[in-house]
């Protein structure tokens, strides 16, 4: 089939290779095809050419002259300007609404932060004063040395804190002394009675009901 189309191209002069045509025409079928087609083509080539009426050409040219005269050169439409593609309203509306919402929230927070500073001055001031006084009193406190409280000599009316470590120190000393012999114990030694161990401010074991 391709060879037959190739013959057609040769016949109409659209394929130049002469050697190619000769090789094609060695085939008898292709040769008869070429002969049949060229016979019909020959007769078609000798058909007369048809021309339009002279009046048709005159009318066409007259129309062309009128069209040219009615259209000034400056008025001729050039390339159209580029058109901006219309964006869907959804694509415009969503970012705009988001931006508006952010602005509204920011304004709302700004407004309420300013109003709360102005609306709560009294309670906040009282709390701050109390905290300051407490901190100052703690700073003025002094520890007690050997059972005597050393009191700061600031204002006489201020409440003073006094620590008395004497009793605690004595009790601790007693415990240490009591436990010291236990260092000499070894396996097999006699057990120490529990009553000898210190149990609080009063030595010895007390009944649970007596701890009051």
């Amino acid at each position: 089939m391709e060879e037959k189309k190739s013959i057609l191209l040769h016949l109409y002069g659209e394929k130049d290779a002469e050697g190619d045509l000769r090789s094609l025409l060695k085939d008898e079928e292709l040769q008869s095809e070429h002969q049949a087609l060229s016979e019909v083509k020959f007769h078609l080539d000798h058909l007369g050419r048809s021309k339009p009426d002279a009046t048709s050409i005159d009318r066409v040219v007259a129309h062309a002259a009128r069209a040219s005269a009615s259209t000034e050169i400056g008025d001729r439409r050039g390339d159209r300007p580029p058109l901006w593609r219309t964006r869907p309203i959804r694509k415009v509306l969503i970012p705009a609404m988001s931006l508006a919402a952010v602005i509204v929230i920011a304004v709302w927070f700004g407004y309420f932060s300013s109003t709360t500073d102005e609306a709560l001055p009294a309670s906040a001031q009282i709390a701050a004063d109390e905290m300051t006084a407490e901190a100052e009193s703690l700073l003025r406190a002094r520890p007690v040395v050997s059972g005597h409280a050393v009191v700061s000599t600031g204002r006489a009316t201020d409440p003073l804190l006094v620590w008395n470590y004497a009793e605690s120190l004595r009790e601790l000393s007693r415990r240490i002394e009591t436990m010291r012999p236990a260092d000499d114990l070894d396996w097999g030694a006699r057990s120490i009675p529990l009553e000898t161990l210190p149990g609080g401010t009063q030595p010895g074991i007390h009944q649970a009901s007596s701890r009051r």
Partner: protein
Amino acid sequence: MAFPQRVEDRISLLNPSDEELVSAYVDQGDERAFRMLVERHQERVFGFLYGMVRDRSVANDLFQETYIRVISALQKQRASYSQQGRFLGWVLRIARNAALDHLRSRKRWQDVSTTADDLDTSFWDRLPDNGLSSDVVLHNSEQESFVRECIDELPPEQREVLLLRHEADLTFREIAELTDCSINTALGRMRYALHNLRGIISSSDKVELSEFGT
């Protein structure tokens, strides 16, 4: 305007290209350039139209219609032509559309006879303008009309390709572009058209195929 010095420019001045003629008409309003353009391609365009509709007066109307569309397109948006490339191909595309529009409308109104249109054709238009004797002219005319009748019997696609190749002198590649098909399809249609035409002529007892061209 100075006389061109270069040989190519002189040749161009004597035989301007289609593009130069279009430019002369569109840019300077030179109607002579447009006339030259119309006359240069009149046989191809009219031959194709006449082959499609087989009615001389209708073909004349379609010829005018085609060029009115061409003028309108050139005046409004010349870019559409520039992108098309070859002027003749562009005009033939417009002519083909005009012919198809006409054929569709005729099919719609096929019950209306169109034979009366032939009466409107002037007698002087029918006279051949060559100097051959009346017998030869009559013989050639009969043969030609017979072949054209045979062409009319071809299927529309084959007839269109045959007319575009023989009347409009388009290449098969240009025909393929114009009719929106592949070059193989165009070649196939042409081949079948020639074979069918040969068969139609051979089956007719009017004229022997070998008589043609003598």
